[in-house]
Symmetry: C2
Subunit: 175 residues, 2 copies
Amino acid sequence: MKRIAIDMDDVMADTTVKIIDQINFLTNSSYTYDILMSSDNASKQAFYELYLKHNTFLWEPGFFTDIPVKKDAIEVIKELHNTYEIFIVSAATEFPNSLVEKLNWMQMHFPFITWKNIVFCGHKHMIQADYLIDDHEKNLTTFTGTPLLFTAPHNLHITAFERVSSWMDVKNRLL
Amino acid sequence: MKRIAIDMDDVMADTTVKIIDQINFLTNSSYTYDILMSSDNASKQAFYELYLKHNTFLWEPGFFTDIPVKKDAIEVIKELHNTYEIFIVSAATEFPNSLVEKLNWMQMHFPFITWKNIVFCGHKHMIQADYLIDDHEKNLTTFTGTPLLFTAPHNLHITAFERVSSWMDVKNRLL
């Protein structure tokens, strides 16, 4: 059975959507996901500057409890789960409070994936799998299997990897 | 640089010592580590029966905060850290409260190993490394590198793996 490692933030979870909400709240702004996905580079740069200045909320209790689930993620991962060995691999050890929150989030939305197949780490280069679905170049570059770049606002410029832009894309690629 | 994956419980941490304390407290007994390491099979069986009956303390907040560090672990892992890439790989996702407690424990006793090189998981068979130092047969059996069995009371009967009985043994084997 082939093994797929799947990242959480901005792959299974709409983490950037919640980050935008937090930045808008903290800075009285009105950024949207569509702006970050657009070619409006001035707005995007302004947003990421605010993000770097205000992102301490990532370390606060509660941030990772109620992130929305990505469209079609539950249905497609459930289908993949019948054909592949699924591991959830999240770079979470940087955010101590996120660990139990991410475990609870998984149990709430993906109860068919148990604690046995959830991995919280920093680096991901020691993960052995046939596929890695991830939004970060640094994780895909060191991966020894087939890397799949999941589209997110911060990776639109990356061309070095095969890209999947939605869970329907993943379904078409792997099922 | 070769990579060593190191388990926490009963390899870096004297987890069984704390478990014995809890069982003695809960059942008004007087088991010792030496009894569990001895050939007194009747006492050992009685202890593990009590353990299976009373081990809910593993899921309670606080259990993993103050486990003693194994003799020579800090010094030897610090030396290994100069020559090898070290990953701490702990099967911790079964115990949600343990996650942040184990992260804090690492920071307190092994501050030279950062969150980037700590992995909390269930299964370990997706971990890619040159060596795995672990006390559980199930983790070593599926490992694709060189397995090293760290002696613990529950693995004295295992003969399928090269054994290390102390951190001085690890030092002599790997440095």
